[in-house]
Symmetry: C2
Subunit: 177 residues, 2 copies
């Protein structure tokens, strides 16, 4: 279960609440390769605390509801490191679009082309968004500067993946016509 380690990873930056974890971290930096549901984050935080990989402190706040601020423990840091050094084997990425295309002999040429062209449009839009991302403003300190280095690699992966899918779709469309 990778979500546990993602949470541990973010908590090495600084102690924070589940709410902030979700809003500022999961919904920003890793949402394109590890989205996380709010309910799942809270339940995983609970489990992590039970395992003593993290600990929590109730922080009263002015003008806002109380916050449960989580910190990574030494045990948690050890567990994070041992996950980080262990190679992750091949994991099949489920792709419902490929499944749809696989059975597309039941579609007319027009229906199929419409499907492919809509898909192509969406990938072009996603590529444009990725191309506009600028990570540099996030480099507020040394740790974040290092962090952005790796965020940059994952962003580069996303850019290449979108370009690959665009080229592939263009060629499939060409072949079908």
């Amino acid at each position: 279960m990778s979500l546990k380690y993602a949470i541990l990873g973010f908590l090495t930056l600084e102690p924070m609440s589940g709410y902030r974890l979700k809003k500022e971290f999961f919904d920003k930096s890793v949402r394109n390769f590890w989205p996380a549901d709010q309910a799942q984050i809270y339940r995983t935080l609970y489990k992590l605390e039970q395992e003593k990989w993290i600990s929590s402190a109730l922080i009263p706040q002015a003008n806002k509801p109380d916050q449960k601020r989580y910190s990574i423990s030494e045990l948690g840091q050890t567990e994070l490191r041992s996950w980080l050094v262990k190679p992750i084997g091949h994991t099949t990425e489920r792709n419902p679009f490929l499944l749809q295309l696989y059975f597309a002999r039941h579609l007319s040429q027009a229906e199929l082309l419409s499907l492919l062209q809509e898909r192509l449009k969406n990938h072009r839009a996603r590529l444009e968004i990725f191309e506009m991302v600028d990570l540099q403003p996030l480099a507020v300190n040394e740790v974040m500067k290092e962090q952005i280095r790796f965020g940059g690699y994952t962003l580069d992966f996303g850019l290449r993946y979108e370009r690959m899918q665009i080229e592939w779709l263009e060629d499939v469309i060409e072949d079908i016509k």
Copy 2:
């Protein structure tokens, strides 16, 4: 739930048992983008029959245990078609390796390089396997010939995806060194 539609799709080729569905179809053609567990296939077949999208017949066999042979119903064909024409929106592909890389600032350069190089080796091996695949022998009739056309597109996707990941890994390794 795409598994339902994958099963329906295969049953348009010919009526068959859950066992054959698993061994000859899921474990071959679509395993790289839609793997399916045996338990899940059997339970989904049960649900599909309850919904009347498929029907079953008990076939006694010589030298083998009885077979429960499923056929797609007219309702099932209608449902398959309506799934096929409906565009599949963006689905985030969870990638635990990108997550690991994202938090790799906790690793030494040597540890990280070893991780990346092993990953690169695996992708090169997968590419080699994909490059050796020949779909032509499966073209035993007109329907399979059409089917292989689409199988070819999904295989091409796999080839390009592996090549993309190899290039990306090479560049990341270069950058880290």
